[in-house]
């Protein structure tokens, strides 16, 4: 993020330089041009008024011969008079010098007395001569004075003087435009400085904001990773304690079986070898003890099965549920024929699951459906299936005694029984095992029932992610084959 910001800053800085530099340059040039124009027209006005005020003096001065010397000029009366006039005229103007030039380039008058009578530099005279043809000429010069580093800018304008006999001289007016130049330069300097400062300020602010946000983000990230670490640690602990608990349940139920086996075996020995000593009542007590211990054995075995769902689990395989359910039904064949039951199966999908556990699941569910039948009615068990949102929903429905729907959640608890032992046998572990199996497969199970209205157990299992298309079609076909299930 900061890298991106740095790129942005560099690019915008370059853009800033590219825009502000030329802009200020051209702006300054434009302003300077305007200033020159203004100064030139001012010079023109000054020159005109100057000419009209001092026309006679000028004429008299210019009449002096080309060969006139500096000494002669200084001595002439007109010169003195003219100089006074010029000084009074130029009192409140920027004009720094006034020269009167003869047509051959001789300086007939100048405020700088040293150059009187001298000839103009050829380049300068060249320009002055253009004024003779065009009426007016001007130029500006940058003069660096020797004494200081200060530059002075001079604008010179040349105006031809006309008399009745034609042009007779040239008037040169030098204006000092240094203050204007300085003003423009300082304006340029301040403009660039201020814009740069503004930009710097903006960048500084942006930097600060970025820094601030990034520190917030990094702090939050740190907090998040701490929380994540903690969570991971807790998950590990939970996993370990879960594993310990499962191992405990497994070991406990395994070890509990041992003494029970002895109780039963010695009970048997007692009944067989010493039955006659115990008498009828003693044998009845013994029988009850034996019954109780064998019931406890079944309980322990169911508990063992329950704990084995996660401790002794096999890896998931691609599994055709049709084959599993058919196997289960054939295992239950004796009970089915005993109760005259009817088991209706619809086409089931292929999923990824633990084969033994899927078998156990359907064994328990179909077994239950057969067990809890009404005394006067043959059981009808239907196993149906549909797919909803990439999930397979399998329903095992019976027409048995059912249960009050308020127990729909309770039936899945361990050792939960809704009927007396005299009515239906069992330990109350079957559905707990079923739920544990379903949950291990990433699904869930729920029950729906009314008393005497049968019961439905609805299992939702995820379909394998990369299920080939034809399988999906198969499942859809099943739905249309069994419209009553939809």
């Amino acid at each position: 993020m900061f890298k991106l910001f740095n790129y942005f800053a560099t690019i915008s800085f370059v853009a800033f330089v590219l825009i502000v530099g030329p802009y200020s340059y051209f702006f300054a040039r434009y302003i300077t041009g305007q200033m020159y124009e203004a100064q030139l027209s001012k010079n023109l006005i000054i020159s005109n008024s100057f000419v009209s005020d001092t026309a006679s003096d000028l004429k008299a001065l210019s009449r002096s011969d080309e060969s006139i010397s500096r000494v002669h000029l200084l001595k002439s009366n007109e010169f003195e008079e003219f100089r006074n006039d010029v000084a009074s005229l130029l009192k409140h103007t920027e004009t720094s010098n006034v020269r009167l030039l003869g047509l051959s380039g001789t300086i007939l008058f100048s405020l700088n007395e040293a150059e009187l009578g001298q000839k103009l530099e050829p380049a300068e005279f060249q320009l002055a001569k253009t004024a003779l043809t065009e009426g007016l000429a001007s130029q500006h010069k940058n003069i660096v004075s020797a004494s200081a580093k200060q530059k002075s800018y001079i604008l010179s304008s040349y105006m031809p003087l006309k008399g009745s006999e034609g042009q007779y001289a040239l008037l040169q007016l030098d204006s000092d435009i240094t203050p204007i130049h300085n003003r423009i330069d300082s304006f340029r300097f301040w403009f660039i400085l201020l814009t740069a400062l503004c930009a710097l300020c903006l960048y500084g602010m942006l930097c600060y904001v970025m820094q601030h946000f990034s520190s917030i983000i990094s702090r939050q990230y740190q907090e998040l990773s701490t929380v994540k670490e903690k969570l991971e640690q807790q998950t590990q602990e939970l996993k370990r304690s879960n594993e310990e608990l499962e191992l405990f349940a497994y070991t406990a139920s395994h070890d509990l079986q041992e003494p029970l086996r002895k109780v039963q075996a010695f009970g048997e020995r007692l009944a067989k070898k010493h039955g006659d000593v115990l008498g009828k009542e003693g044998l009845l007590y013994l029988e009850r003890m034996q019954d109780a211990s064998s019931r406890m054995r079944v309980l322990i075995q169911d508990l063992l099965t329950y704990s084995r769902v996660s401790t002794k689990a096999d890896p998931f395989l691609r599994l055709d549920l049709n084959l599993i359910v058919r196997d289960v039904v054939s295992d239950l064949e004796v009970r089915i024929s005993q109760t005259n039951a009817k088991v209706e199966l619809s086409n089931l999908p292929t999923i990824e699951a633990d084969p033994l556990q899927m078998r156990q699941l359907f064994q328990n569910l179909i077994g239950n459906a057969l067990k809890f039948h009404k005394p006067d009615q043959a059981p009808i068990v239907t196993v149906s299936c549909e797919t909803i949102n990439e999930k397979v929903v399998i329903t095992v429905k019976d027409n048995g005694v059912g249960f009050d729907n308020q127990y729909a959640e309770k039936v899945f608890q361990i050792f939960q029984r809704l009927h007396g032992r005299g009515e239906f046998e069992g330990t109350g572990m079957g559905l707990a095992i079923v739920r544990k199996i379903v949950e291990r497969h990433g699904g869930n199970i729920s029950a729906e029932s009314q008393e005497n209205e049968g019961a439905s157990f609805i299992i939702t299992l995820p379909l394998p992610a990369a299920l080939p298309e034809e399988h999906k079609k198969d499942i859809r076909k099943t739905q249309t084959l069994h419209p009553q299930l939809a």
Partner: protein, 153 residues
């Protein structure tokens, strides 16, 4: 049955099981001699005639070993491995008789060379059945290497 009844050696740390097996043998009317050892160490001592088992009369060579897997000191798996890798002992049939129904134990036992694997029956009648069938199988049906005089080291 003109064969001399074979000695059965049972290795089990559980005194109840030893007693019940003895009674079951009686009940099944087999005339075999039944000897007990209580852990893997004792089993190996017996087979190698060490310590209290050095007398060949009181500790005769077993024709079949009933082996429990979970025993103290040296467990059945280790003993099984040791016996089956000993050229002098590996021909003695070993029947693993244990409470474990764990698939892994069953596979491991057969991998180590067990000749049979039986889970201990829950009822005494079941135990009598097992002993009777074992007797029939190992002492009547199966032909064991009779001539072999296993070298007691």
């Amino acid at each position: 049955m003109n064969r001399k009844p074979i000695t059965i050696l049972m290795a089990d740390d559980d005194p109840d099981d030893r007693m019940l097996t003895g009674e079951a043998l009686e009940e099944s009317l087999l005339a075999n001699d039944l000897h007990f050892v209580e852990d893997g160490e004792e089993l190996m001592d017996y087979l190698h005639c060490r310590g209290k088992y050095s007398d060949p009369v009181s500790a005769p060579k077993p024709g079949v070993i009933l082996l429990d897997l979970n025993m103290p000191k040296k467990d059945g798996r280790e003993a099984l491995k040791e016996i089956k890798s000993d050229p002098n002992l590996k021909r003695i049939p070993i029947v693993v008789m244990t409470t474990s129904k764990v698939e892994q134990d069953i596979l491991r036992s057969y991998d180590l060379g067990a000749n049979s694997y039986i889970t201990k029956p829950v009822t005494f009648d079941g135990l009598v059945d097992v002993i009777r069938n074992l007797g029939r199988y190992w002492f009547e049906i199966v032909e064991l290497p009779q001539s072999e005089e296993y070298v007691r080291s």
